[in-house]
Amino acid sequence: MNTLRKAAVWLDERLHLTALYSSTAGHEVPASAGSWFYVFGSATLLCFIIQVITGTLLAFVYVPSTNEAYTSLEYLNHVQFWGWYLRAVHNWGSNFMVALMTLHMIQVFLFGAYKYPRELTWASGIVLMLVTLGMAFTGQVLRFDQDAYWGLTIGASITGRVPLIGGQLVHLLLAGPIIAGETLSRFFTLHVFIIPGTIIAVVSMHLRLVLTKGINEYPKPGKIVRRSTYDAEYAEIIRKEGVPFVPDAIDKDLIFAALTIVAILTAAFFFGPKGPGGPPNPTLVDTNPRPDFYFLSIFAALALLPDWMEVLILFIAPALGIGFLFALPFISGTGEKSAQRRPVAVLSVLFIMLTIGTLTYMGQTSPWSPKMNAWSGDPIPVQYVQGRTPTELKGAIVFQNKQCRNCHSLGGEGGERGPALDAVATRLTKDELVRQVIQGGGNMPAYGKKLSPAETEALVEFMATLRPKTTPSVKPSEKPSNKLPHDFAVLVPPAR
C-alpha cells in the first residue's frame, strides 16, 4: 500500500494531476447549479464527441468524390458490417446535438446566464451554434444524393443574390463555376477538418470561460445583477455553498449523458440511417428537393415571403439577428436573471420557437408547391361528374388534362398552390371564371394561349357546376358593389 501511495505521489509530482483536477473538474460551483436544467451543455458536448468518433469511423469507408460518394454510402448501408448503424448513429447524433444545443441556449437565455460577467461565454456559444449549423449543412452535402445536389444548387442560388460579389462567391462556394468534383471535396474538408477544428477551439474557450467566470448560480427572482457587486456576491456564494463540480454536482449530467447516448442509439436502431435518396444525377429532374429538418424553416420562409423581401430576409435579417445575439449581453448585461421576472424574454423564446416550428411544419408539407402528378394521378371525384352534360364532362377532361389539378384540389385531392375549387361556382360567375382562366393573375398563370375557345367554354361550364347542392351559384346581380368578393386575393394581383 505504501509503495502504491509512493508511486501515486511520484506520478502526481510529475503530472500535476491533483492540481489539474482542482482547477478543472474539481472547481467549485454553486450547489444550486446541480440542477436538471444545467445538463444540456454537457450533453451537447457529448453529442459532439459521439459525432467525432462515428464520423472518423465513417471516413474509413466514405469516399469524398462525386463519382464514388453515393456508391460508398450504399456500401456503408448494405455491405459494411454495422455501417448502416454507424451512419444512423451519426445522423441521430447530429439531430440530438442540434436539439440539445437549442435547449442549452434557451436555458442559458432564460436563466440570465449570459449577463455580466459571462458575456464572452455567451458570445462563444453563439459562434458554436453557427458552426454547428455549418456542420449540419455540410453534413447534408456529404450525404451526396439528389437532395444534396439540389441543396447545393439552392445554396449557390442564395449566394448568387449577394450584391456585387455574388458571382465570385458562388464559385468560391462550389469550388468552381458549377457543381462538380471539387465541390464535394471542398465540403468534405469543411465538414471533417475546418469546422470540427473550429468547434474544438471554441469549445475549449467556452469551457475555459466556464471555469474562470464560474457557472451561473440558479437565479432567484428579485436578485439583481450589478456590475459593481456581482463578483463579490458570486465569491460569497461559492464560499458559502460551493461544491466541487466533480463529484458533487456532476451526478445529473452523468445520468442525462447516459440517457442521451441510449436515446441516440435507440433512435438510430429503430429509425435507421437517413438516405442516401436518389442518385446525385442532375438529369433526373423529377425530384422534389427538400433540405434537412434544420433548414426547413428557412426553406419555407423563402416560399412565403413576398419577393421584394427576400434579399432582406436572406442577408440582412440573419446579420441583424446574429448581431443582436452577440450584442445581447451588452444590451442587457445586468438586472433581473430569473425568467419569472422577465416576461419579454419568455415570450420572445415562445414566439421564436413557434415561428420556427410553424415554418418547419410548413416546409415539411409545402402547400405552395404544385402537386406534380395530381393531373394524372388523382381522378375527379365521382359526384363531380355524375349527371353532368356532355359539355361539362368535356370541361372536366380539360380541367384534368390542362393540369389545373396540380395547383387546385377537388375533393381534398390535388395541389394546394391555388384555392380548392370544390365550391368555386359560389364565388365566381362564369364571366369571372373565363377572365381568370384566360388572363390568370393573383399568382395564377394565364391559360389563354393554351386553351381553344371551345375548351375554355367547356372548362367554365364544368367549373360552374362546382358548388354544394344547397348553395346557389353566384350571380352577377347578387354581388353588392360595395363588398369585396370572397376570394378577393385571387382576383386582384397584389399591389407592387
Binding site: 468524390s65 462525386t66 463519382n67 464514388e68 439540389w150 444548387t153 439552392i154 449557390a156 442560388s157 442564395i158 449566394t159 448568387g160 443574390r161 449577394v162 460579389i165 455574388g166 458571382g167 465570385q168 462567391l169 458562388v170 464559385h171 468560391l172 468552381g176 463555376p177 458549377i178 457543381i179 462538380a180 468534383g181 471539387e182 465541390t183 446525385p280 444525377n281 442532375p282 438529369t283 429532374v285 423529377d286 422534389n288 428537393p289 426553406f299 423563402l302 416560399a303 419577393d307 427576400e310 405552395w368 408547391s369 404544385p370 406534380m372 393531373w375 388534362n401 393540369q403 396540380n406 395547383c407 398552390r417 390568370g440 399568382n443 395564377m444 398563370p445 394565364a446 394561349k449 393554351k450
Partner: protein, 178 residues
C-alpha cells in the same frame, strides 16, 4: 549597447532599444514577412474564384436537330465542357430545348431563377413548374407565377452542321446568368 555589457550597474536609457529588444523586433518582423509570403499562395489558392478571370463556358453540342421537332419543348443533356475525371454524373447537365421553328430555338437552363431547383415542363398546360417553391414559367420562359424574380435563364445557342450547340459550363444564378 556595448556599455551595458561593460557596466551592468549603469542605468539604461529606457528609450534606447536593447540588443534583446532589437532581436525580438527582428524576429517578429521576419515572421510577419515570412507569414505574408506563406499567405500569398494560400489565399490565392482558396480565393482563386476572385482572381482568375476566365470564361467558364464553351460550346457543346446538344445533338442533331432531328431530336428537337418544331413546336415542341424537350429535355436535353450535355456533358459539362470542363470536367474532372471524378465528376461522375454531376457533369451531365440537363436543359430544356424549345424549338420554335426553323433555326429559332430557346434553350432554357433547368434551374429555377428563384433558388435553382429543377423546373419541369408540362406540355398540356404549356408551363414550367418548380417543385421547391411553386415558381411557374410560360413556354417562352417568361415568369408566370410564384416567387421567381425573372424568367428562365437562356443559353446562347447556335445551329451548326445540323446540330444544336449551346454555351454551357456554368451554373446559372442571378449573378452569373448563363
Amino acid at each position: 549597447m556595448s556599455e551595458s555589457h561593460h557596466d551592468p550597474d549603469k542605468p539604461k536609457d529606457p528609450n534606447l532599444p536593447s540588443r534583446r529588444h532589437w532581436l525580438l523586433a527582428l524576429g517578429v518582423g521576419l515572421n510577419v514577412v515570412a507569414g505574408a509570403m506563406l499567405s500569398i499562395p494560400l489565399i490565392g489558392f482558396v480565393m482563386s474564384s476572385f482572381l482568375e478571370k476566365k470564361d467558364n463556358r464553351d460550346w457543346i453540342a446538344l445533338g442533331p436537330l432531328e431530336g428537337f421537332p418544331e413546336k415542341t419543348t424537350r429535355i436535353a443533356t450535355y456533358r459539362n465542357p470542363f470536367t474532372r475525371p471524378w465528376d461522375g454524373q454531376t457533369a451531365d447537365i440537363p436543359c430544356w430545348v424549345r424549338h420554335i421553328q426553323g433555326n429559332a430555338f430557346q434553350v432554357f437552363a433547368i434551374n429555377c431563377t428563384h433558388l435553382g431547383c429543377p423546373v419541369r415542363w408540362f406540355e398540356e398546360s404549356g408551363l414550367f413548374l418548380c417543385p421547391c417553391h411553386g415558381g411557374a414559367y410560360y413556354e417562352d420562359g417568361e415568369k408566370a407565377a410564384g416567387p421567381p424574380p425573372r424568367g428562365l435563364f437562356q443559353y446562347d445557342y447556335k445551329v451548326e452542321k445540323g446540330r444544336l450547340w449551346v454555351r454551357g459550363g456554368q451554373m446559372p444564378t442571378l449573378s452569373n446568368p448563363v
